[in-house]
Structures are given as C-alpha cells and as structure tokens.
C-alpha cells in the first residue's frame, strides 16, 4: 500500500452499488464514516466500532467486511455493495428484503443493513442452508429487537426463493 501523509486528505474513489463515487479522506478516517458522511450513503450503520456487532457490514469485492474496521483509503479502487443496492432495478424489494418484510425480521432496523449484507454473501455460497448454518452465518451480527428466529425464517424463505428464481432463469 502506498505511503500516505498523516495530515493531508487523500482522494478515494470506489464503485458503490455499481456507481463510481469519490471523496477526500484523511488516512485515519474509517470507511464507515467515509461512506456515511462523505459519500452520503447513510444506509450502512455504525453500532460498536470494535467489530463485534456487525451493523456496519458491507461487501468489499464480494466479501462481507466490517466497514468500521477498515480505513477509507484502503477501499480505494474497490467494488463495494451496501443495503442501498439490494432493491431490484425498478425499486421494488429484492428477494432477501421481501423475505425480511414478510417475516417481521426487523424492528428498529438499525442492525438490518449489516445482517442483509452478511446474508447476501452467505446465500451466494449456500443456496440451501440448514438452520444451524444460518445461525453460524448470523453469529457476527447482533440484533437486540428480534430473537433472530424471524431473521432465520427470512433467510430460509429467501434461499428457497433464490433457488426458484435461479431455476426459472435457466
């Protein structure tokens, strides 16, 4: 990684949900802060800033990552996906969002962006997960409103719907 001067702001650019965004960041600025306050993508939330709660989880080059444990300058050139990119092109809910909606899988919705992104990655690799596998996938995301039960159900429903939609696409 290139050497950055501590006191200056550096140009950072990446693709966010398929659109190129850019801004300036001090080297120490967290990616979560950059996303929210420089780019204005406030859908990603910050819950603990020590990597435990998972609210700030986003996909960086397809991998679920904590945006509070990463610096903005490290994301330069990356492909980033967040909750704002989950809806269908026409704005309607994507499959995972719809499953959450129908299962009452959110209440306050603060942890939800991170959970949706964790599960987005998980469901790509696990089209037909067991309940135990889902629990492990969720273990890095804290929700204090629900009992996870609703979220697990949503994930099962989303997996089934994704399988159907893939089968239909073939």
């Amino acid at each position: 990684m290139k050497n950055l001067s501590r006191d200056s702001r550096h140009h950072v650019t990446f693709r966010l949900n398929g659109v190129t965004v850019e801004g300036f960041s001090e080297p120490r600025m967290l990616l979560s802060d950059f996303l929210r306050h420089e780019v204005g993508a406030t859908g990603t939330h910050v819950g603990c800033e020590h990597g435990v709660c998972g609210a700030c989880t986003i996909l960086i080059d397809g991998t679920a990552s904590r945006s509070c444990l990463m610096l903005a300058v490290q994301a330069d050139g990356a492909e980033i996906d967040t909750i704002e990119g989950l809806a269908n092109a026409d704005g309607s809910f994507g499959i995972l969002q719809q499953a959450f909606h129908e299962n009452f899988a959110l209440q306050c919705g603060f942890c939800t962006p991170g959970i949706l992104m964790s599960l987005s990655e998980f469901l790509q690799d696990n089209p037909d997960p067991s309940v135990d596998e889902i629990k492990v996938a969720l273990s890095g995301n804290v929700c204090r409103c629900t009992s996870y039960h609703e979220i697990i159900n949503a994930c099962i429903d989303a997996a089934a719907a994704l399988r159907t939609s893939k089968a239909e696409a073939r």
């Binding site: 819950g47 020590h50 909750i83 959450f100 929700c143 009992s147």
Partner: protein, 999 residues
C-alpha cells in the same frame, strides 16, 4: 412465506385491527433509507462533541488543565463540569434530595465514565484528539460499590450533602403484615441479589443541539424516547422557558428498551456546549460510552419474607429492597421500584404486605429505564419465594402458585398495594399453557433424565404485566404530607391527531416516539377501521416536534404505553373525525348522522349502501366549502385526542397506588439440564404465554414477545455490568458485556391463551413488550433451583458460578497449563514475575537500570524519560492493549535501594485511556552468565483500558515485559534468552474463559 405460530388473522368482524399486516416501516428501513439522528443532514459548520471521562470510580478532581486543548486548531469550545454548574440548575428528580447533578462531574467524579470535560471541534476525530491534550489530576477515594454495604455508616459518602448513601428510605404497610406473620403456621425468608444489566440498543445516544437566538433557547434533535415530563427537567436546568426548548425526534430510532430516556442530561450539556461554541454541536455516543456511562437497570438486593399456612396459602409478604441507582438519580428515577409498587404481590391474592425501599447511591453508572422497569427484580424475589414455600411444604410449585392466584371472579381486583388488575383469568391461562406447552411430557422428561443421573429441573413463573404508567406513581415515594404540599399527580395523557385534507387523504401524527415496534403500521390499522379506508391510504408520521405537535408529559415510548394509550388516543381521534364527517355526509345523504357508515372509501346510509358519497368528497367540502357545512361544524378536519383513563388515580393517603392502567398476565414454564462437568445450563424446553387482551397486529405482538425473550435470555445467562471493589468498570465492549447472538439463543414455544381484553382501554389492548423480562430470569432460576436443590440462585448463570453450586471441585487443568497461584493482593491486579539471565555483571545491569537515557530506549513505547529527582523518574509511554492505544504520563519512584543488588519501585501511569498504579521489585544476583535479574511486578488498572482490555491485559503485560527484558539483554551486550514470564493466579481462570468456559 410465513411460519409464524400466531394465527394469520384474528379478525373481529371485518377489521384491520387484529390483522397480521406487514410493516409500513420496512419500506424505508429495508432500503437503507431510514432516518436516524446521525442520518439527518446538518448545517455546514456543525461541530462534533467528545467527552473526557473519569477513569476512576470515586475521586476528587484536583486540577483540570484544558489550555493545550483550547489552543488546538479546529477546537471551538472546551467545557468543564464547573462551567456547566455555573450556567445551569441541578437537574431535578421527583423528591427533595441531597444530590446536585449537572450531567458532568463537578469537583468530584463518582463513576467510571462520568463526563469531566466536553470538547466541540470541527469533526469527531479532532474532538477526540483534543481530549488527549487535557490533563486532569485526581485524588482517588475509596469507592462504595455494594448497595447494602454502601448504607453502612463507615462507607465512603458519595454526595457530601447527604448523611448517608441511602438517599431515600420508605416503609409501606398494607393490610396487617405483622399480625399475618405472628399468626402464620410458618414463615420463611430468602435474600436475592439481582444483577446490573441493560439491553444496549444497537443505535447509541445521538444529540444535535443548536442555540436559537429568537427564543433564547435551543433547537434539539435527538433520539430521546420520553417520557416528556423530562422536557421540563431539561428546560429548568437550562434556565429557559419550556417553550424555548424545541425538541425533535427523527422518524427512526435504533432501539432503546428504555435506555434513551436518560439521554436528557447529555442534551442539557450539549446545549451549554453549543452556546459556548456558538454553533450547532452534534454528539454520537460510542459503544464504550454507552456501556460504561449511559444507563442501566438498578441492581437490587431484596430480602423477601413470607408468612404462609400449612395449606400453602400465603397470608403475608415482607419485601425489603436495596435498590442500587449508581452515582446519581436522574428523573424519573428511582421510578422502577415504585412503578411496580402496586403489584408487589404479583398475581397472588395476598392481603398483608410490608415493603421497605432503600434508594442507594454507589460508585457506578447511574440508572435509567430498562425494559421491564423494576419488574424483573421484584418478580425474581416473589416467584423464587413461591418456589421456596412449595419446596418447604413438599407441594408442587405450580399447585402452590395456583392456590394463591387471583381468581377470575375477583376482577377487577384491587391488589393490597393499590393496583387495579383490570381483567384476566389467570388459572385458565395457566391451564391452557400447561396443556399446549406439554407440561406432562416435560415432567416425564425430567424423571427420565434424573433416572439417568442427569441434573434436570423444571421451573415456573407467572407475572402480572403492567402497561401504561400512572404519572403519579413516583409520588408514592413521598410521604402523604409531602404529596399534599406538591399537589396531585395522576393520569397519563396520550395524544394522537388525525386530519383529513381536501382530497380526502388522511394524516396521523402521534406522541408514541417508536423505536422499532411498528407503531405506524398499527395506528394505520386503527384509523383505517374507523374511517372505512384501507390502511395503505393512511399516512402516519411519528417523528415529533415539541413546538408543533400535540403532546403532554406522558408522551413517549416506555412501560408498554403504546397498546393501551396511543392506540386508544388514535381510536378516539379517528372516532371524532368519523363523527364530524358523518355529520357533513348526513346532510348530503339526507339521513341522520347516526345512520351513516364508512366503508370502502365511501360514506353511505346504513340501510341503503347505494345512497353514498365518496370519502374524499366530504374532505373536500370541509376545506373548500365551509358555507355548506352544518351550522355548528367547524371547517377543516383535524382532531387531536388527548386521551386519559380515569382509573389512573393519585396515590392514596395510605400509599395505595394504581401504578398502571392495564395489566396483562404471563405464565412460563421450562425444563433445564445442567452439565455436571462444565456448569453449563441448557434450556431444554421453554414455553411462554401472554394474555395481553386485544392483539392489534399479531406480527408486531409476536415480535415483542420474541424480542423480550431474547433480551431476557441474555439477562439470565450472560449479561452483567461488572465492577471491582474500587469501582473499576470491567464491561466496556461487546467482548466483555456479552449479548445473545443467533448461535446461542435457544428457540422457545409461544402459547396464545384466550385473550381477556382490558375494559379500560378503547380497544381492549394491553402492553405485551415486557412480559419475558419478568418471567424468564426467575423461571430459569426456579428450574436451576429444582435441578440442584439450592436456594441462592444468582444471575447471570455463568458456568463457573453454576459449577460452584453443583459443589464439585473444578476439574484439574489439562496438561500444559503452568500454574502457581498464591493469593493475590487485589483480585483485579495484574501480577507478573519472572527471572532472566543477563550477560553482564550486576553493577553494569544496575547502572543501566538507573540510566534514564538508556532505559528510554529499552522500555517499549517510551517516548521520553527523565530523572526528576533522587530516584524519581518521569516519562511518556505509548501503550496499546487490545483495541485501545494511548499515551501515558509515567512517574516512577525507586526505594529501598541496595546497589547493585535490589530495589523496589512504585509508580503511576495516567492518560486518556485510564490510570494505573503499580509496585514491584528487582533483585540482581551473580550468575555464571553474568547476572540473574528477578522481577516481580503488580499493576492495578482503571479507566478505559480496564473496561475494554480486561481480557487481554495479562497477555499484553507479559509481552511488554518480555520485550523489555529482551531489550535489556541486548543492551547489556549478550544474546541471552529471557525466561518466560510467569503469571500468577487468574491466568488459569483467564485461559479457561478464553477457551469457552466464560459464558
């Protein structure tokens, strides 16, 4: 898609109320378009605040030097507690007391995390930088941590104007408890220690404050949750008119569970800070701040005594509570204990009661509201006692509970302490739960498990679930005379406004300040039913603005207020709109207003649906043609209901109080199995039932039950705020304060018993969000007591603790763990000792150790080290432990020098991350290689580093010492190898926790 246990539709006739309608709120939240405080755009030039906080549980502030911080570029204001005290009044609570509370420390710090200095700077990063430049000198005092010991005369006094740390003591006598105890066949007693916990919402506190030159006050945006009675407290503290304190809450709040009530002291401080900075100032609390210094439920010690007959009928109850409220009381504290006063006898027909409440100050985080609000502590005592009586009599605990329950024919039932239990059939609820939940099968399972030698127990717990608090209950804390002087306090007003515009669109606003419960959805259902519309056609906005909305002191989101109060207010406002529109429509339809019905977007004659007018046309008439309205009908359509229930009466002369309006009923039972070897308590089967009257929306209601269960499971098994005896806080991150995740949270069975609607709420609905906070902890505790045959069950049920109750010795460690464990001086101290060979003679080593320039190069992170006097050194060291890193100002003094053989040292290290005090010795002896250096160091830590680094400190200390010793060997000229540092007692325990025994 659904797999929910609740019926898909609970329709009464053709209503939207009772439908499992999907949430309106999801539309924005699931798209990342919610609006939480930190999402709301701010003015350019808005500053960010950061707080320097106390590293000590109890200390005098000797000096605060903010000069370097004030000079830092980007810093606009630096504010001390002393300045806040000069510019504000102490924040009032509900009774005369000797505590001056300003939201920041003045002269003294009283808990770890207490704000000492606030900084406003151009961004949060710079504000936190500035904190590092502030120097505070403390004189550390002895701390009071245990609530019972804190009441003793020899305990350190936390507030100088008080004569005891017990700032309020009240005795209540209802019925004739002394007589009941004297005449009873039997009496028994039990002492309960209920721990400190919270529910730690995912969104922390957030405040934006801006001075308003027009009003002379402030415009505030925050995630404050109410009750808005506290708005008055803030305005009085700020010395401004209440109307000059404009408070807005945004559309979304990221959970609260009570905690965002006591954000208000921060609002006051942020207002003062913004005034000093002359700019808007925003503050987003971080997680460490939230865990250490926001709000917790009071921990409580309760001595419970019961008088009972040989038939198991309980005739008298005595409750003596020591309620630990931490360092300050903040309104409406100490409310939790008084909110439950009326239902001190739970759902039992016990007619003689004595209650003694000690409200105690300790050197811990001050308390606030937490879901359950005084109920978990109370019911833990009462339900453990019922279990104990059953055990003593050899009666099945459930049978004993049943014998004492209030019977169906007694409703409405006036409990001896004043609660007017509105409706229910407790025995029927229990019967339905037992049948549906499979109690018989569970008993068989227990018998089989026990036959195999397993530790298995069954527990039961029942609870009366209060909802919608009487705003007068806190006055019960005052004597009758004091109450008379202060004037009556009662009721609980809820406000909802329904308006219909010129095109018939319906807007609803309300004062319920939701934090995720789905209030918009439920209110749209209620209003839609009244107006014959689809809920989709109703727009509900629940962001609030005290300058524009209808609200009263009870506004907010707490104590299960929504279902009884806000729903009633919405029903009433919509009903009034309906009445008005019916009168307008009636003139067009040529029928009496009473014969008009609303359905399908039309208003029509009841007996002739063809005789109709569209809903929107009536809206149009009201706005566009006032002249065509009936003479006594005002133009426009906007109705605000300020709904109150007459049953919420003031405290009586003999201290009876109907603390809440509606009382649901909950009943749980469970089976647990306990692993003899690990002490892990596993919930094998758990059943929970709640009769909360009319269900507004089963999807929302079930979410509340499940959410309550999850947080109650956490309180039962893993959640606890831990303090050392000196007030050092140990639970500053989610690695220390454990909360349930998907992997450990078990599933449970919900039973939906026959509902008994409340006669006192407009829809018959009662609150449902708190039930499992009451039942689950004690239900599991009773099961553990049943499994182990023990009496003193203390939460949380961490395996190490349970293992001690089982009575077996801790199993020997696996091979490879080295242990030598003499007793430690302080259980929280880090003790490191070891020895090493250095290839240089003792004199050389000695000279090296006393040479500050050379030592500066050896000490890891040392930036500066100078000799300040005979055998005294001062330096600056940069150290990091786990997630935190910071600069420490180090002072070391050597003593008992015996050159070149031995010295003892004492030292302190202070910095933004905390403080430490240490002592130790070095002994140098001749050896074949040159010298042997033996060292023995003990260090105590407090502040941030102790709060978040606790689990890593010993490892970090070992690494530091190793690095230092290796450097010493190199400096002394050899390639010698340091013998590994050995860690005394505690290391084994730490390692055991690390490998999984800590839950």
């Amino acid at each position: 898609m659904t797999k929910f246990a609740m019926p898909e539709e609970i329709r009464e006739g053709d209503t939207h109320v009772g439908r499992r309608m999907l949430r309106v709120e999801d539309r924005s939240l699931l798209r990342g378009e919610g609006q939480f405080v930190d999402d709301v755009p701010v003015k350019k030039g808005t500053l960010h605040a950061a707080f320097l906080r106390s590293p000590h549980g109890h200390a005098e502030i000797i000096n605060i030097d903010t000069s370097r911080a004030e000079e830092m570029p980007g810093v606009f204001a630096v504010l001390t507690g002393r300045e806040v005290a000069e510019q504000t009044n102490p924040m009032i609570v509900g009774f005369e007391n000797p505590i001056d509370y300003y939201g920041m420390a003045v002269d003294k710090v009283r808990y770890v995390g207490e704000p000492v200095v606030a900084v406003a700077a151009v961004d949060r990063y710079r504000a936190e930088d500035a904190l590092d430049l502030i120097e505070v000198t403390y004189n550390v005092l002895r701390a009071a941590v245990d609530p019972v010991e804190a009441c003793e005369p020899e305990a350190p006094l936390i507030h100088p104007r008080a004569d005891s740390n017990c700032v309020s003591k009240r005795n209540f006598v209802h019925g004739e408890p002394d007589k009941a105890f004297a005449e009873a066949d039997r009496t028994t007693e039990l002492t309960i220690r209920y721990p400190r916990n919270s529910i730690t919402p995912m969104e922390t506190y957030a405040v934006l404050s801006e001075p308003n030159a027009e009003t002379g006050g402030f415009d505030v945006l925050s995630n404050f949750q109410g009750p808005f009675s506290v708005h008055t407290v803030m305005a009085l503290a700020l010395r401004i008119r209440t109307a000059s304190l404009r408070h807005r809450s945004p559309k979304n709040s990221g959970g609260s569970f009570g905690s965002k009530l006591v954000i208000f002291p921060y609002i006051v401080v942020l207002c003062v800070l913004a005034r000093k900075a002359r700019r808007p100032v925003k503050w987003i609390e971080d997680r460490l701040e939230h865990l250490s210094a926001s709000s917790v439920a009071p921990n409580r010690v309760t001595r419970v005594e019961a008088a009972y007959g040989n038939d198991g009928i309980v005739t008298g109850l005595r409750l003596t509570h020591w309620d630990d409220h931490g360092a300050y009381l903040r309104a409406p504290m100490p409310a939790p204990i008084y909110r439950m006063h009326g239902v001190s006898t739970n759902g039992y027909d016990i007619r003689n009661l004595a209650v003694t409440n000690h409200i105690v100050m300790t050197n811990k985080c001050p308390t606030g509201a937490v879901r359950g609000f005084g109920g978990p502590q109370l019911y833990f005592a009462v339900e453990r006692m019922m279990h104990k009586i059953a055990t003593e009599l050899g009666i099945d605990p459930l049978e004993l509970m049943r014998r004492n329950m209030v019977r169906a024919d007694q409703f409405p039932y006036k409990a001896i302490a004043g609660a007017l239990l509105d409706s229910g059939d407790y025995l029927r609820t229990i019967d339905e739960t037992v049948t549906e939940g499979g109690l018989d099968a569970l008993k068989k399972r227990r018998d089989e498990a026990r036959a195999q030698g397993k530790l298995y127990g069954i527990g039961y717990a029942a609870c009366v679930e209060p909802s919608q608090s009487n705003m007068g209950y806190i006055s019960t804390l005052k004597t009758g005379l004091e109450r008379e002087r202060a004037g009556p306090k009662d009721g609980a007003v809820a406000s909802v406004t329904v308006s219909v515009d010129a095109l018939g669109s319906v807007n609803v606003i309300g004062d319920s300040v939701p934090q995720g419960q789905g209030h918009q959805t439920a209110l749209s259902q209620i209003v839609a039913d009244q107006l014959g519309l689809d809920p989709e056609e109703i727009v509900v906005s629940l962001d609030t603005d005290t300058s524009k909305d209808g609200w009263s002191i009870a506004a907010g989101n707490y104590s299960c207020r929504f279902a009884p109060a806000s729903a009633s207010a919405a029903h009433q406002a919509a009903f009034r709109v309906r009445e008005k529109m019916a009168r307008i429509a009636a003139t067009r339809l040529n029928v009496p207003p009473g014969d008009v019905e609303f359905s399908g977007g039309r208003i029509h004659a009841a007996n002739n649906p063809e005789n109709a007018i569209p809903f929107y046309r009536v809206g149009g008439l009201a706005h566009w043609s006032p002249s065509s309205l009936p003479d006594d009908v005002e133009p426009g359509i906007r109705e605000t209901a300020m709904w109150n229930a007459p049953e919420l009466t003031p405290t009586t002369a003999n201290d009876e109080i109907n603390t809440s309006l509606a009382y649901g009923f909950g009943f749980d039972f469970c089976g647990v199995e306990i692993d003899r070897d690990t002490g892990v308590v596993r919930v094998d089967h758990y059943v929970s039932a709640h009769d909360c009257g009319t269900i507004l929306n089963p999807g929302l209601a079930e979410g509340q039950i499940r959410g309550s269960w999850a947080s109650a499971w956490g309180a039962t098994f893993i959640e606890e705020f831990c303090y050392d005896d000196d007030g050092t806080f140990r639970s500053g991150s989610f690695a220390e304060y454990l909360v349930p995740t998907a992997t450990e949270l078990p599933d449970f069975q919900i039973v939906h018993p026959t509902p008994h609607p409340s006669p006192y709420t407009r829809l018959g609905a009662k609150g449902i969000a708190e039930g499992n906070q009451y039942t689950t902890p004690v239900c599991v505790a009773n099961a553990v007591a049943d499994a182990l045959g023990i009496e003193d069950v203390q939460l949380p049920l961490k395996p190490a603790k349970v293992l001690r109750w089982i009575g077996g010795a801790e199993p020997p460690p696996s091979k490879g763990i080295q242990t030598n464990a003499p007793a430690q001086r302080n259980p929280s101290a880090i003790e490191v000792s070891g020895q090493m060979e250095v290839p240089a003679p003792p004199q050389e080593v000695w000279d090296l150790l006393l040479d500050p320039d050379r030592m500066a190069r050896l000490i890891p992170g040392c930036e500066r080290l100078v000799k300040t006097g005979d055998d005294r050194f001062n330096g600056t060291v940069m150290l990091g432990v786990g997630p935190v890193k910071g600069r420490f100002d180090v002072n070391i003094e050597l003593a008992e020098l015996d050159a070149p053989r031995r010295t003892t040292l004492t030292g302190t290290a202070d910095g933004p991350l905390g403080s430490s005090r240490g002592q130790g010795s070095f002994v140098i002896e001749d050896s074949a290689a040159g010298s042997t250096v033996a060292y023995d160091v003990s260090v105590e830590l407090s502040g941030k580093v102790a709060a978040v680094g606790g689990r890593m400190i010993k490892g970090a200390a070992r690494q530091l010492i190793d690095r230092f010793m290796r450097a010493l060997v190199r400096q002394a000229g050899g390639g010698g190898q340091a013998a590994p540092a050995r860690h005394r007692s505690g290391f084994l325990a730490w390692l055991m926790r690390l490998v999984g025994g800590g839950r």
